[in-house]
Symmetry: C2
Subunit: 310 residues, 2 copies
């Protein structure tokens, strides 16, 4: 197949490129590096079946090549420090960026695959969150540039599916981690691993009792690949339902290093969700998917990758 | 002042044009007639302080005149039959349309005024709805092309306010009625009045026990005008909190005609909100506004206008 991936220089995008190239597909990556890394493009630059286009997909996707089978829209600043630095760009890549991807897919008769997020559930009143839960999002808060952009992206994807017949997929990704995360992405696992490697105290927001679930990147990529095979057009959660408090995660991280490390507590950021955990019954039902990698071995892999780099 | 109004050929837009012209301002109307009426432009065509630009504001606002004081963004298909016929256009005027208005306001150092809607509250779990309520909206339902577009419009308006310093206003308009509504807009008051005038049975969806509140257009226009004077940037509800069931409204309509009329019951449309009523405490606090016109005299005015037309 010929697959175009927006956000190919990002964390998730680069793992998708790798997977599809390994499976023998032709891949076109598109990125403007607003939150991505050139090193993620360099990984594949010499691959005969990889092409890269540097472009801001909110202003159009300048692809003029042969017929595409899939347009996978993974471009978007994804971590709070990134999207709060670029609120308008984040809103645009959710609206214009998604629409440009849908138009390209429509023109090629290709499938369109949207990376949405568990943030569409906001600060949920239902726990765990099934896909039928409508969410609790602050439309005007400082996170709304991301959350509302993704809700809009889902709405326009459904509109192109319903009114223009585009063969669409929507996934709601829950916190994902693994090699190639940016050290400055502000996500908790990245923070902890880098702080631990530097022997610095681990930063815990609030009292650390808020819980998160973490899925390893390989599990996510497997779920994406399976969902491409079935014609299911409504959103599907992909995440790991195993929950940990931030305190538990901190102590698991501490176990990876020999020396003793402290914790520091900082204030909770505005609108920070208290807890979030996927209901993955739907993914199990339609694609027989569930995450296979546990947190301890996943943390270990990230830790090892970072030790080699540093 | 020099005021540009998108959606000037619509129901609310045309009343704004009238008000501002009457107050001595210069008005530029912009509309593409997707749900508006040429007759609403014709009302002002010969006015020396009125200019009209026919354009789709989702593709840009081609204004090249003198410095604007306000950009008022009221363009959007607004009733379910209109926006469900044009889901992609509705999504675009909420995203690209709003952003084009914000950019124009930014370039002119003008204020930007967004017409949002009570639909951002969706099918509310809180009753009545204060502005602090985050809503209960289905992001992928058939109404999401409107609801999510408006939530996005609010989010990008706040982003331009916060990150680019634009002097913004956001109102959440609750059901409004009055002269110049389109006979085919599918809203309940229009339906009832036209059905009553034709001596047809009044159409009630579901069992008619769902409630709605209705504000007369003059009250809305007064609220808008007052809000322009105060620097308040978060959303403000403008609506009439007096609630009626559809059955009550039907009987009020029947009272306006001499002959006996029947009711017919049809199925509730998908995602139809069960009830919605504004908490208008904030508008009272910041602009000393509350609606002054009751339903009986308002219904009468609409009825009289329609009788003259037909
Ligand atoms: N990683 C997670 O835990 C997670 C969770 C939920 C959703 N997601 C979603 O998955 C996708 C990928 O996330 P990620 O973690 O890899 O983030 P990332 O920041 O590592 O990757 C996103 C990539 O998109 C690129 N990009 C952003 N705007 C662009 C534009 N206008 N034009 C071209 N390229 C643009 C960035 O430069 C970056 O390379 C995003 O859509 C994100 O919202 C990720
Ligand atoms: N009337 C209500 O009860 C109500 C309630 C809540 C919110 N609102 C909001 O108030 C605004 C006005 O609503 P209305 O009742 O007057 O609806 P309307 O349909 O009568 O007017 C909207 C106008 O916008 C124009 N328009 C739509 N898309 C456009 C585009 N891309 N470019 C240029 N013009 C475009 C239409 O042609 C129409 O003239 C809308 O934003 C609506 O969402 C209205």
């Amino acid at each position: 197949m010929r697959i175009l991936i927006t956000g190919s220089a990002g964390f998730v995008g680069s793992h998708l490129v790798e997977r599809f190239l390994n499976e023998g597909h032709t891949v076109i990556g598109v990125d403007n590096y607003i939150s991505g890394q050139v090193s993620n493009t360099d990984l594949f630059r010499d691959h005969p079946r990889f092409t890269f286009i540097e472009a801001d997909v909110s202003h159009g996707i300048p692809y003029t090549g042969e017929k595409l089978d899939w347009v996978m829209h993974f471009a978007s600043p994804a971590s709070p420090p990134h999207y709060q630095q670029f609120p308008v760009e984040t809103l645009m890549v959710g609206a214009q960026g998604t629409q440009n991807g849908l138009e390209l897919a429509h023109a090629h008769g290709a499938g369109f695959f949207l990376a949405s997020t568990s943030e569409v559930y906001g600060d949920p009143h239902v726990h765990p969150q099934p896909e039928t839960y409508w969410g609790n999002v602050n439309p005007i808060g400082v996170r709304s540039c991301y959350d509302e952009a993704k809700r809009y992206a889902e709405a326009i994807t459904m509109a192109y599916h319903r009114s223009r017949g585009v063969n669409t997929r929507i996934i709601r990704i829950f916190n994902t981690y693994g090699p190639r995360m940016r050290p400055d992405d502000g996500r908790v696992i990245t923070n902890f691993v880098h702080q631990a490697l530097r022997g610095e105290p681990l930063t815990v927001y609030g009292d650390g009792s808020q819980t998160r679930s973490f899925q390893y990147i390989d599990d996510l990529v497997e779920g994406i690949s399976r969902l491409m095979m079935v014609k299911y057009h409504e959103p599907v959660n992909l995440g790991n339902p195993d929950e940990f408090t931030m305190i538990e995660l901190a102590s698991k991280t501490m176990n990876l290093v020999e020396s003793k490390i402290d914790l520091v507590n900082l204030d909770l950021p505005a609108d920070d969700p208290k807890q979030r955990r996927p209901d993955i019954g739907l993914a199990w039902k339609i694609i027989k998917w569930r995450p296979l990698k546990g947190i301890d071995s996943g943390l270990n892999r990230v830790f090892d990758e970072q030790k080699i780099k540093s």
